[in-house]
């Protein structure tokens, strides 16, 4: 089975994120970048499918700047076989739909039975690439998957809805986006981290994919970035439990008017 996993190199969720002084974007200097947490679930699932038997290959692919190779190597250290880096200055400004277009041009040229992505990237939080990629490849997609199994050429997936879980069956190939809880991603073993260093990563630019600047120009354009307005500081109550509780309830009723 040929499994492709789309991954993104993103700032660590612990990072303090601030806008640039001119508000044109986010200050990225000094941020620590890692493999997108949701993509870790996707990579882990792909590797588990490979380990469960049969002859499978896991290829990880990313659209990203120079440093994104680190996330590809992290995935390879976990157990992925091949890495592809879609790298071009023209790709740096594109939007989520553009990323899906770029990925589809590369994926189109590869054999694939299953494509896995994380449900969203923790930087832009768009959650678009999975379904958009599926549309461009003309294959079905299942979003926000918490459980999946491959059974005779089909995938059965549990997709999270509000207050419910939908069980869907889909022919392969298909695109599935991974949700937290799909699995517990492994820590890469040290020898594998060292081995991943030596793995050759294929690099493709816009020309190699036959894409012009217009093809990858963002359709959704960022105008500005700002910090959210701070929440007004509230009131802290201490003291006798019964009195504090009584006062809180009174405030909720009369001041906040939420009861």
């Amino acid at each position: 089975m040929n499994i492709i996993v789309c991954v993104k190199h993103v700032p660590d969720t612990e990072a303090a994120i601030k806008p640039l002084p001119d508000g044109s974007g986010v200050a990225t200097d000094g941020l620590n970048y890692v493999l997108n947490p949701y993509d870790e679930f996707a990579v882990e699932e792909a590797i588990r499918i490979k380990e469960s038997g049969g002859d499978s290959t896991v290829t990880v692919i990313t659209v990203g700047p120079e440093d994104a190779t680190k996330s590809l190597r992290t995935a390879i250290a976990m157990g992925a076989d091949e890495g592809i880096h879609l790298k071009d200055p023209a790709f740096l400004e594109t939007d989520a739909q553009g990323t899906a277009a770029i990925l589809s041009e590369a994926v189109k040229t590869l054999p694939y039975d299953l494509i896995l992505c994380g449900k969203q990237a923790v930087d832009d939080d768009c959650a678009q690439v999975g379904p958009a990629l599926a549309e461009r490849l003309g294959i079905p997609n299942v979003s926000v998957v918490t459980r999946m199994s491959i059974e005779s050429g089909k995938v059965v997936a549990h997709s999270e809805l509000e207050g419910a879980t939908q069980v869907l069956e889909c022919t392969l190939p298909a695109v599935l986006t991974a949700q937290k809880g799909l699995n517990e991603p492994r820590y890469p073993k040290l020898p594998m981290i060292m081995k991943a260093k030596r793995k050759e990563i294929k690099i493709l630019d816009a020309a190699a994919l036959g894409m012009s600047p217009e093809d990858v120009a963002p359709k959704a354009k960022r105008l500005s970035v700002s910090t959210p307005p701070p929440r007004r500081a509230g009131r802290v109550l201490e003291g006798d439990v019964a009195e504090v509780v009584k006062e809180t309830v009174r405030l909720l009723k009369e001041e906040a008017k939420v009861l």
């Binding site: 700032p11 612990e14 806008p19 949701y38 989520a96 739909q97 899906a100 277009a101 923790v122 930087d123 939080d125 768009c126 959650a127 678009q128 690439v129 379904p131 958009a132 599926a134 549309e135 003309g138 294959i139 079905p140 997609n141 979003s143 926000v144 999270e160 809805l161 509000e162 207050g163 419910a164 939908q166 069980v167 869907l168 889909c170 022919t171 298909a174 963002p218 359709k219 959704a220 354009k221 960022r222 105008l223 500005s224 970035v225 910090t227 959210p228 929440r231 007004r232 509230g234 009131r235 802290v236 109550l237 439990v241 504090v244 509780v245 809180t248 309830v249 909720l252 906040a256 939420v258």
Partner: protein
């Protein structure tokens, strides 16, 4: 042809869900500002009465696309049916609720239409020409981004639930109902819905809840969540958890509020034994009113709480339950 602004309907169990009405409300306000017509687009089957009722809350047009293949929601046939209509009617904008379904359908639809999509927006404004500007949280809400789709058409966006005021019923407005035939071959793209498993708690789902009570590491053990459940049952609300509680195996990750969990926008959020790590705040800081209960006066959550109670939650929470029960009586 007058410009049209579309709201795509999401149904569950034969009813139009509230987030759809919120998007309709936003579209109505935009439509009024630019003089565009607002259309409700309902892809489904046997849904006309529900569609009419929803359309009466602000739509000028109800496009009813009914087909066997649309009886239950699936991404692929819905994307095709709506895209086909969009190719014909050329709306200025298509907006959907940023619900699970909306976030699944919108990107596929945008790709099909070759247009741009602004996800999970908390503000949507328009200029006089009908070019929309959206504000959306990024980096789990640590910063806000303003974006627009200047050239590609239709402009597309998903709107975060519980932020926009729902459309008001307008007896003076009679939406025009347009029945649309869909060109869908059976089993478009091989996906079938095998079953839908409802969550077992019977409580309101977190992202739609008005009141949430949440527990963190301070609960000390899984069994102690019982006291939160009792408080929740008193108020008829949802129970959430911080990542610490979920990672410890005390609560299901479906209950997790925070950056790698759910983003919630309740009217009242009561955080018990939760320190207030940035990642948790990312999930609940848009709550209208936050109450925090923690024994540590230095806990970061007190910086965002409207009302903070420093104390032993095992004393405070039961006392809160009783006090709230009394106000309800």
């Amino acid at each position: 042809m007058a410009a049209e602004i579309w709201t795509v309907v999401e149904m569950r169990d034969g009813e139009v869900r509230i987030p759809t009405l919120e998007v309709l409300g936003a579209c109505r306000r935009i439509g009024d500002a630019v003089g565009a017509k607002v259309a409700l687009v309902l892809a489904g089957k046997d849904a006309e009465p529900a569609g009419r009722e929803a359309a009466a809350r602000g739509a000028d047009i109800l496009y009813l696309i009914e087909h066997e293949e649309l009886a239950a929601y699936r991404t692929e046939p819905f994307a095709k049916a709506i895209a086909d209509l969009a190719a014909e009617k050329k709306p200025n904008a298509i907006l959907l609720p940023a619900t699970s379904q909306g976030k699944d359908l919108a990107p596929r639809l945008a790709a099909r239409l070759g247009t741009g999509l602004a996800s999970d927006c908390i503000e949507a404004d328009t200029d006089s020409a009908g070019v929309l500007t959206f504000t959306r949280p990024i980096y789990a809400g640590k910063v806000l981004e303003k974006i627009s789709i200047p050239e590609a058409r239709p402009q597309m966006a998903t709107l975060r639930p519980k932020i926009f005021a729902p459309g008001e019923a307008d007896p003076g407005r009679q939406p025009e109902v347009v029945k649309v035939a869909a060109d869908l071959s059976p089993d478009v793209l091989g996906k079938t819905v095998k079953e839908t498993i409802k969550a077992s708690t019977g409580r309101v789902e977190l992202t739609e809840a008005d009141f949430i009570v949440s527990g963190g590491r301070g609960m000390k053990e899984p069994d102690q969540f019982k006291i939160l459940e009792e408080l929740a049952d008193t108020l008829g609300v949802a129970v959430g958890a911080s990542r610490a509680a979920v990672d410890a195996g005390w609560r299901d990750h479906q209950d997790q509020v925070g950056q790698t969990g759910k983003t919630v926008t309740p009217t009242l959020y009561i955080a018990c034994g939760i320190s207030g790590a940035i990642q948790h705040l990312a999930g609940m800081s848009s709550a209208k009113c936050i109450v925090a209960v923690n024994k540590d006066p230095e806990a970061p959550i007190f910086k965002v709480a409207d009302y903070g109670i420093v104390g032993d939650l095992f004393e405070v929470v039961p006392a809160l339950k009783n006090a709230l029960k009394e106000t309800q009586a």
